[in-house]
């Protein structure tokens, strides 16, 4: 809280000078308090202050988001990268970059360069976004917070050539590696039933000094028959951890595993198109041709012939196999479902593995349905919202209901509940200890 107070005071001092200079400060204060429903205990207190600076001078723009945060869930957890033994808050640059436009009049409309810590938004689906993989995410919020709020900026450079305002080619090179925030023991219990064999001993992060290893993305965009379409190529690291296991000589710990972040290659596509009667279709798909690994089945049998995972280890494997994967999300929005302003979004997500074999733990195809409904009323001051993700394979779900009350344009309060259920080793069921009720207050200035 000390850092938070200092930041607020610094902002109060700097703001007048910044306004005089043509730039402007704005900010958001967010207070999130959650209670653990199952254990009738405090779950999380997350207080955030985002100080935003933005400036635009002719064709040059500057944007920065400095975040001060005190999050009991991360700061009390030594496995979190935000943990600090002698501090009770953290301050970091969530996003900050400079952007320069160069306008032309001929065959090229303009070129835009950006450099700094950037949050990218690629793809047109919601939440389950196969091609929106340029930024690590804070998964400690699971899906309670929207994806844009979960993302963390990456130091990178971005150049976009606009041949017309609709046709462009964009190239990104990413110069740092920051894994997804998933090593939080409160949320991600990797010793759970599903991964009992994964006694993680260490973690290997990519060496970003090795320039021989590419970490870049390309995107081409065009408007085709009224649809916005993008083709994407990504060659870089996966922010999600993967595992490799090996046998040890320790009888108490016969298997040890290592977390690593594989290099992945993906070809992607996304689109959006407004159709009729307030309906729009949107979707995206990624075909991963490198780096997606899947655990072999562990039957707990000591006989390798009956246990694919053990068989892999004794024959020199690491318990995992790499496969091509198609990850696709497609769905539609209805702006006015039955009554004005009743909004519904429904999407399907499928993960389809190529060359699937029976000894792989994950099904050949995983199917998930996501639905969101909200309806603002009372001069849009109150907005109830329902969200549900249902995994068909595991019959597991995560569902949330909340009501947001807009006190006035800068102030709002939201109360809600999230329930997660399913078999303990299922897609969502592994997080079923995270049912919570929450109260959130937001103020902007």
């Amino acid at each position: 809280m000390k850092k938070l107070s200092l930041l607020i005071m610094a902002m109060a001092v700097i703001a007048p000078a910044a306004f005089a200079d043509g730039g402007s400060f704005s900010g958001t204060m967010d207070f999130f308090y959650a209670a653990d429903i199952k254990n009738d205990a405090a779950y999380r207190r997350d207080e955030r202050f985002d100080l935003n600076y933005s400036a635009a001078m002719e064709d040059t723009r500057i944007k920065a988001d400095l975040r001060a945060e005190e999050d009991t869930l991360k700061l009390n957890d030594p496995t979190s990268k935000f943990y600090s033994a002698d501090e009770n808050a953290t301050v970091y640059l969530r996003e900050g970059y400079i952007s320069q436009d160069i306008n032309f009049g001929g065959g090229i409309d303009s070129i835009n360069f950006r450099a700094g810590r950037i949050i990218y938004t690629w793809g047109n689906a919601d939440e389950l976004k196969p091609v929106d993989i340029l930024n690590p995410q804070d998964y400690t919020f699971l899906l309670f917070k929207p994806i844009e709020e979960r993302k963390l900026g990456v130091w990178s450079a971005d150049a976009t050539v606009y041949f017309t305002q609709d046709i462009f080619l964009e190239g990104v090179t990413i110069e740092e590696f920051e894994p997804d925030e998933v090593e939080n023991s409160r949320i991600f219990n990797i010793d759970s039933a599903e991964t009992a064999q994964l006694n993680v001993t260490n973690s290997i992060q990519p060496d970003m000094n090795n320039l021989a290893k590419p970490h870049y993305a390309l995107r081409a965009g065009a408007e085709l028959f009224g649809a916005d379409v993008h083709a994407i190529w990504y060659d870089g690291y996966d922010y999600e951890p993967a595992f490799m296991s090996q046998l040890t000589s320790n009888p108490l710990l016969p298997v040890a595993s290592t977390v690593y972040y594989p290099e992945i290659q993906m070809i992607g596509l996304d689109f959006q198109r407004a159709l009729f009667s307030g309906i729009s279709v949107r979707g995206e798909a990624g075909y991963f041709i490198k780096g997606k690994t899947f655990a072999l089945k562990d039957t707990n049998s000591p006989n390798p012939a009956d246990n694919p995972f053990l068989y892999s280890l004794v024959t020199g494997g690491n318990g995992f196999v790499e496969k091509h994967l198609v990850d696709v999300t497609a769905g539609f929005d209805v702006a006015n479902l039955f009554v004005e302003k009743l909004y519904m979004n429904a999407e399907y997500n499928g993960e389809i593995m190529a060359d699937h074999t029976g000894d792989i733990q994950q099904d050949e195809a995983e199917h998930t349905i996501l639905a969101t409904i909200d309806y603002p009323f009372f001069d849009d001051k109150i907005t109830p919202k329902l969200r549900c993700l249902y995994n068909i394979n595991d019959n597991a779900f995560a569902a949330g209901a909340e009501a947001a009350f807009k006190i006035s344009a800068p102030y709002s309060i939201t109360a809600g509940v999230w329930i997660i259920d399913g078999k303990k080793n299922s897609y969502y069921g592994e997080f079923s200890d995270n049912d919570l009720m929450y109260l959130e207050g937001t103020a902007t200035f």
Binding site: A56, D59, S110, Q165, F168, G226, A274, N336, K406, T442
Partner: protein, 264 residues
């Protein structure tokens, strides 16, 4: 008596055609006037308008103010228009309308919480822009091809000569049956628009006043009031600054809707 009858007959012969002539002496049809409305008050350099938007519940008198900025430009006869909130929790929420070849329009909304522009469907253009009483179409303009226009007898508001138009949506699923518009003949600004629902009941009014000339060919209404009759709610835009000036064409690029404008 015969002289009086003769004089009356003369007046009928000469004056009435003159009256009729004054109603349509320019020979413009309703559609042509609508096209002129769309083509007027646009600039190839750019038009930047800063304003304060006040949302008011007429019954309770609860009111809320927000800053906003509007920019438009015309390129090769195609208009691009953008509207953005500049403060409050709606800061950065941006609405973009782009004319396409063939008279069609494509519209996008950008919300910071989504992070990328969302295409809006045509019937969605009749819906209100976030929590205001302005429809998406009010902000971005309408496709003249989506309506049939009838020109009625011209009217005068004070000393302002106005065209009087009635337009009806071709789309049967439209929530409106017709609009009546009074259009200032000098500025081609619709100074009063009334929208009627399917039963013919007045449900919405738009009034534009305090029209000022900001350049040789551009007029801007410094006051725009939209009233939702059913909800007893109004949205009032009070322009604080309007100027024709060079704007960055990138401000109208859907892929740059998250970027700050120098004019903000």
């Amino acid at each position: 008596m015969k002289k009086k009858i003769f004089a009356f007959a003369l007046s009928v012969l000469f004056v009435l055609p003159a009256v009729r002539l004054s109603a349509a002496d320019d020979g413009l049809t309703g559609l042509q006037i609508a096209d002129k409305i769309e083509a007027s008050n646009v600039s190839s350099k750019g038009l930047v308008t800063k304003a304060v938007l006040e949302l008011k519940n007429i019954a309770s008198q609860d009111a809320e103010k927000r800053g906003c900025i509007m920019e438009s430009v015309s390129e090769n006869g195609l208009k691009k228009a953008a509207f953005r909130f500049t403060d409050s929790s709606y800061r950065g929420t941006t609405f973009l309308t782009l004319d396409k070849d063939g008279g069609d329009k494509i519209t996008y909304i950008y919300l910071a919480s989504v992070g990328s522009p969302r295409q809006i469907e045509a019937s969605d253009r009749e819906n209100n822009f976030v929590d205001t009483d302005f429809s998406n179409e009010d902000l971005g303009g309408s496709n003249t091809a989506d309506y049939t226009y009838t020109r009625l007898a011209d009217k005068k508001i004070g000393d302002m000569d106005c065209y009087f138009l009635e337009k009806a949506p071709k789309n049967k699923s439209s929530k409106y049956s017709k609009y009546q518009m009074l259009v200032d003949k000098t500025s081609f600004i619709p100074v009063m628009v009334k929208a009627f629902d399917k039963t013919g009941r007045l449900v919405k009014t738009i009034k534009m006043d305090n029209i000022k000339k900001v350049s040789d060919s551009i007029y801007v209404p410094y006051g725009i009031t939209v009233v939702d009759v059913d909800k007893k709610h109004s949205s009032v835009i009070t322009v604080t600054q309007a100027a024709e000036k060079q704007v960055n064409k990138g401000n109208f690029n859907k892929n740059k809707m998250d970027m700050k404008w120098p004019e903000e």
